[in-house]
Amino acid sequence: MAGFDKVVSSYEEALAGLQDGMTVIAGGFGLCGIPENLIAQIKKMGVKGLTVVSNNCGVDGFGLGILLEDRQIKKMVSSYVGENALFEKQLLSGELEVELTPQGTLAEKIRAGGAGIPAFYTATGYGTPVGEGKEVREFNGRHYIMEESIVGDFAIVKGWKADRYGNVVYRHTAQNFNPLAATAGKITVVEVEEIVEPGELDPTHIHTPGIYVNRVIKGSFEKRIEQRTVRKG
């Protein structure tokens, strides 16, 4: 692999170096835009004691939910537990440490991690349990709390298309946390539906510039739907 070609050919290679106790930032919202094959590979590798930063934790039996089954996750940093019985159970029983983080704060903490911003202030969570123990500061007569950024040893990302240099575009709302996660991993791994040659993606349409990406792999995806809602045609 020379120059900027970041394509790897196996999931083993894609996650080489992932070890017990590491922090992994995962893209996705619900089951939309989740790096499902990379998650499956983490299960296969059997690494333990992970801190996983992800808005949700999949569902029972799919997505990040499968890492709860064998207790591979020590700690979750998430905004929502709602649709995952095992997640809620492990949380309520205290088996799993969970840092519940407001969704916008979580997004901004990850962005800040990638952008070299160690901390920022937000009104979100002031006066609530989220604000407890955090520095409070007034700007223009309003109270804000200080939130620190998040970086990961690995970031696992699901894109739509990537070129060999690691430039990524996302499809519809499968974008969500993915471009943020991509900026904040010491090693960022992106799995995509299609790999194209450099120059095939319009430079102004690229959501994640390749500078953030270390490895790219082509996968095939189940794309399970959580709430199948339809209207009559």
Binding site: Y80, P102, E108, R111, T173, P179, I225, R228, V230, G233
Partner: protein
């Protein structure tokens, strides 16, 4: 009689204005989209990264990559835009959304809201709700006025962990529309056939009852 879910949505819809960008929470708030007054345009923001949410898709249109914050499959309207979660909450936190409608377990006379956790019993997580209430000047909370046991959810002080402090000014329950000002609920409207006495009895927090409390009117079928 207490308002139906649909009537709650209809009443909230009257607070819409032409050209409003609106974030509708999961549950009853979502139904508001069905009652946008004719000739009025509003655009729905979904905090997972979509501005310009359309109706549910037909079977043919379903796309796993296009969902709303309730994880439901949706469509986009012409003029929609799609972006990252950071951009989505930049909009929300930055106060660019004109109206936010969301549910709650409790609200109190100080404008506090609790909606994400019942200690030892239930933890849904706050999702985007804390950002939404912190970012919006213009919030309507929809909720039932009391629990099934008759316990008031409109309190002197929220008993559950808060979602936001001092941020709620308008509450629509199944019994009444109220505003919060200066440490009290102010009863502005009552549901059809619901007496002021019933509302008083089911409101634990300080309640100001004006001389005249109009009854909500629903001409439309609900």
């Amino acid at each position: 009689m207490a308002l139906s879910r649909e009537q709650i949505a209809m009443r909230v819809a009257r607070e819409l204005q032409d050209g409003f960008y609106v974030n509708l929470g999961i549950g009853i708030p979502t139904l508001v989209a069905n009652y946008v007054p004719k000739g009025m345009q509003v655009m729905l923001q979904s905090e997972n990264g979509l501005l310009g949410m359309g109706p549910f898709p037909t079977e043919d249109e379903i796309d796993a990559d296009l969902i709303n914050a309730g994880k439901q499959t949706v469509t986009t309207i012409p003029g929609a835009s799609i972006f990252s979660s950071a951009e989505s909450f930049a909009m929300i936190r930055g106060g660019h959304v004109d109206l936010t409608v969301l549910g709650a377990f409790e609200v109190d006379v100080a404008g506090n809201i609790a909606s994400w956790m019942i200690p030892g019993k239930l933890i849904k997580g706050m999702g985007g709700a804390m950002d939404l209430v912190a970012g919006a000047d213009n919030i309507i909370v929809t909720m039932t006025h009391a629990s099934k046991n008759g316990e008031s959810k409109l309190l002197t002080r929220c008993s559950l962990p808060l979602t936001g402090a001092g941020c709620i000014k308008r509450v629509l329950t199944d019994l009444a529309y109220l505003e919060i000002d200066n440490g009290a609920f102010i009863l502005k409207e009552r549901a059809p056939g619901v007496s002021v006495e019933e509302i008083v009895s089911k409101t634990e927090g300080k309640l100001i009852v004006p001389d005249h409390v109009p009854e909500m009117q629903f001409d439309e079928e609900a």
